[in-house]
């Protein structure tokens, strides 16, 4: 046995002497990794790897060969410099809350967990930008920015724990992206480490472009860990809205819900967020600690408007009128922070709430033209009912970003296959109506099989050339985004 962590396993001094004489390249993986990360942590025992087998899709498990936790950005660079010689896939991981099977070791290899890179290095409130390390969590950033009167708009539901690194890798969205746009709209610059250990800055803070043409940062955003490791970002910030109103409207059926969504979207002063929970989603909220008195058995719309107080106050009556005219059973609205936060907490916990009903679920992330909303949602219910699978819809209605959740039991033979068949039929219909695969979750390994539904052979060949330019052997996060991206050591 060799020294692993300094706590549980160690060698007596005599053995240690002989062990030190063995060339590093002949030593076990743990020793080689420890040499690259003298201050960080290296996990290699089977019981230390189990937790890293899955991301937010808990039912899919791929055990890595090792997990490393660099102590800081400097150590991450040092690690990347040594990874080529290890001959193993390298998978970056933020908080592992993604729903795409992205930060998991499908082909084995080393997971690099960036939880220690948590510094907010600079806040320039006058210039509306900040510099953060890749392991900073979204809610921590929000709390730090708030006293400065600024905010970072993307707000994926996993905000309490997800990291900026994961957000940039998957070009994350969130409820308020309907008005504010997704992550790529707020990234001024990315510092990335390539497999040779070279550090590159794509873009930078306002006025600072860095050595690369600025638009090249777009290759990094949404690259899902296939190009490089991220150490830090420069983020664009906005002034905090002066006032916010949140509306809660309930509807008896899909048709009336859809007409409310259309009316809201078409309004000249459209909301910041339009979210929908179906009756099953509402029931799960009400049977959890996030219960907030939602009327059961109805479709729920959660709508938010924000901006200068006088302007926003003037919009309250028109928005509630739109919601009512579409056929709402009831409409409630509030500017109270405690009430608003409770509603949002219930909405954003939706993924976890599914655990009340089923041990495993598959969530799709399709984006469709809004005119097809009711039709595609009905297809989800019909297909799921026919297969005896429960489906729950909780999603970003404003931008047509569907999240149908198909619940199944991974311990029952054939259950997952049923869900995969429904998902495929859904995706085919999504493409037919002019939609696409993913709005914000990324492709990962969960949706890579659907890529040929959207992209032709020429497009796939050209897209594959990009990661190949950065790491020809596909050592970074293989078998993600493209099924054929296998690491050949």
């Amino acid at each position: 046995m060799f020294h692993l962590d300094g706590k549980l396993i160690d060698l007596p001094p005599r053995s240690r002497y002989w062990y030190d004489l063995i060339p590093l390249s002949l030593k076990p993986l743990a020793a080689r990794l420890s040499a690259l990360l003298p201050r960080g942590r290296v996990l290699t025992s089977a019981a230390q790897l189990a937790a890293y087998g899955a991301d937010g899709l808990g039912y899919k498990n791929y055990l890595p060969d090792a997990v490393v936790l660099p102590a800081d950005a400097e150590e991450l660079v040092r690690f990347m410099r040594g990874t080529k010689s290890l001959g193993l896939p390298v998978v970056m991981r933020g908080a592992g809350t993604s729903l795409s099977g992205g930060p998991v070791a499908v082909q084995g290899g080393i997971i690099v967990h960036t939880s220690a890179l948590r510094a907010v290095r600079e806040i320039n409130a006058e210039g509306f930008w900040c510099e953060v390390e890749s392991g900073v969590t979204l809610n921590d950033l929000d709390a730090i920015l708030k006293p400065h009167g600024v905010f970072y708009p993307p707000d994926p539901s996993s905000g309490p724990v997800c990291t900026l690194g994961g957000n940039v890798a998957s070009n994350a969205g969130g409820a308020h992206c309907f008005r504010y746009g997704v992550t790529s709209n707020y990234i001024l610059g990315v510092e990335a480490v390539l497999l040779d250990g070279s550090v590159h800055r794509f873009g930078g803070p306002a006025g600072g472009r860095g050595p690369w043409r600025e638009d090249w940062k777009r290759f990094m955003i949404g690259s899902e860990g296939t190009l490089a490791a991220f150490t830090r970002f420069w983020l664009r910030l906005l002034p905090l809205p002066e006032k916010v109103w949140t509306f809660r409207a309930t509807y008896p059926d899909l048709r009336t819900t859809e007409s409310a969504i259309h009316a809201l979207v078409a309004h000249s002063s459209y909301p910041a967020a339009i979210e929908m929970l179906d009756p099953r989603g509402v029931a799960m909220v009400e049977s959890s600690q996030m219960a907030c008195g939602l009327p059961e058995g109805s479709f729920l719309l959660l709508v938010e408007i924000d901006g200068p107080a006088a302007l926003v106050d003037a919009r309250v009556a028109p928005v509630s009128e739109i919601l009512r005219q579409a056929g709402a059973l009831d409409v409630m609205f509030s500017e109270e922070d405690t009430i608003r936060k409770k509603l949002w907490k219930a909405r954003k916990a939706a993924g976890g709430l599914l655990g009340q009903l089923s041990p495993s679920y598959v969530v799709q992330d399709a984006v469709i033209p809004k005119r097809a909303l009711a039709e595609v949602l009905q297809l989800v219910y019909d297909e799921a009912d026919a297969a005896g699978i429960r489906a729950v819809n909780v999603f970003h209605a404003g931008d047509g970003n569907l999240h149908p959740n198909f619940l199944f039991d991974s311990r029952l033979p054939g259950d997952l296959e049923k869900v995969e068949r429904i998902s495929k039929r859904l995706m085919e219909r999504v493409i037919e109506v002019g939609g696409t695969l993913s709005g914000e979750h990324g492709i990962g390994n969960d949706k890579s099989g659907y890529m040929p539904l959207v992209f032709g052979p020429d497009s796939m060949r050209l897209q594959l050339a990009v990661p190949a330019a950065f790491n020809p052997a596909h050592q970074m996060n293989p078998l993600k985004v493209f099924d054929c991206r296998r690491f050949a050591s």
Partner: protein, 396 residues
């Protein structure tokens, strides 16, 4: 791990990761194994036979503070605390894990309250004389010989309150070492016209056994069910959120336990008046087992208002202070690191004097240690909220 334990106990965890954000040991180490999601994965893999028993599983299990903040954060309503307690008990029974010797001795002693009271007599004397300098022993003047039961009976016959009747859990450590808080609780209740009964046959609530994985909490629970369930009272109350949480589980189904501050909040307690110009500032920390265990909203604002002091919640008041029952004895380094982050605000806190108030004696011990070990460099007092409502020893 019990091979017969059904893996379905773990199965409603969807791996969403919301628990990571609130877990003190994940925040401390950044290691996902050291989080509720990670531990549940380890335990379920072992239960399903995919992972053999491993010292790292034992290590990460021991690392858990047991604060239950993850239960509040969990949308899937995974009963983490129940699972964790069962696994910890199994690890101790099967010798995969062993609490420190002092805790094993204490666990044996608390099962016999009279023995535990006698064993801690020197501690009461030292605190009474102001000569206790241990980092956990916050200042106080506990009555050395008179028991809380005797005091309650005496005060009841003098004041003859006519309001609601409560049965009061006096606790083990609270009674044996910090008895002055029990006395204050009795005075406050009786001043608020509450009739206080103290069942003499009550025993340890089982919290100590749960924290250590030792002993038989079920046997202790049976004893307390006999002591409390047959009483004709409006409520069973506790002045320690950890003890109240443990006793509450024992009395289920059919019975429940109220935290004494929540109970007083419903009554609207007598307000204490303070001198004009009193610059005292009270920072209130909410014990984990009050908000995450008993799942109450916290300490009622009207109770805190009734203290007559200017008060506010301490920063991150719903987060763990690192006490974790006996966690600060089992894992002192982690407990100190958690406390360091949590207590840093006291160095800059406004007020003269500054009071850190909470409602659990083990949290009070942990908060006192922040000053005693140099984490907090300025003077501050640690008090139970009930002490801030106390009419004083002259009340009779």
């Amino acid at each position: 791990m019990d091979p017969e334990a059904p893996s379905s106990h773990f199965s409603n965890c969807t791996h969403c990761g919301f628990c990571l954000a609130v877990c003190p040991t994940y925040k401390l180490t950044g290691d996902e194994n050291n989080s509720p999601r990670g531990r549940l994965r380890l335990w379920s893999e072992e239960a399903a036979g995919r992972l053999p028993p491993d010292k790292w599983t034992d290590f990460y299990t021991e690392e858990c503070v047991g604060c239950l903040a993850c239960e509040t954060a969990c949308p899937a309503t995974v009963p983490y605390g129940e699972i964790f307690e069962r696994i910890r008990h199994q690890h101790v029974v099967s010798h995969r894990s062993q609490p420190k010797m002092a805790l094993r001795l204490a666990a044996a002693a608390v099962a016999i309250p009279s023995l535990f009271n006698l064993a801690l007599l020197p501690g009461r004397i030292l605190r009474q004389t102001g000569l206790s300098f241990h980092r956990f022993l916050f200042p106080g003047r506990p009555p050395v010989l008179k028991s809380s039961a005797a005091y309650a009976a005496e005060l009841m016959s003098q004041r003859r309150p006519t309001g609601p009747r409560v049965a009061f859990l006096t606790g083990c450590l609270m009674e044996a070492m910090f008895r002055e808080i029990n006395f204050a609780t009795i005075r406050v209740l009786i001043e608020n016209n509450v009739q206080v009964l103290i069942p003499l046959d009550q025993g340890c609530c089982g919290a100590f056994q749960e924290h250590t994985g030792l002993g038989d909490p079920e046997a202790l629970g049976a004893r307390n069910r006999r002591a409390f369930s047959s009483l004709d009272v409006d409520a069973v109350v506790s002045n320690s959120s950890g003890c109240g949480y443990a006793l509450g589980k024992s009395l289920k189904p059919g019975g429940s336990v109220r935290d004494v501050l929540g109970f007083l909040g419903d009554l609207g307690p007598v307000r204490r008046e303070r001198a004009p110009g009193d610059a005292t500032r009270v920072y209130v920390d909410l014990p984990c087992h009050l908000v995450h265990g008993q799942k109450t909203p916290g300490i009622p604002a009207q109770v805190l208002d009734a203290t007559g002091y200017r008060w506010e919640l301490a920063p991150n008041s719903r987060d763990c202070c690192g006490s974790g029952g006996v966690y600060n004895i089992q894992k002192p380094e982690n407990a100190r690191a958690i406390l360091a982050a949590k207590s840093a605000f006291l160095n800059e806190a406004e007020g003269q004097p500054v009071v850190l108030a909470t409602s659990n004696h083990v949290c009070m011990m942990q908060w006192h240690s922040a000053g005693a070990t140099g984490l907090v460099k300025r003077a501050y007092e640690v008090r139970h909220v009930i002490q801030l409502l106390d009419p004083g020893a002259d009340f009779s």
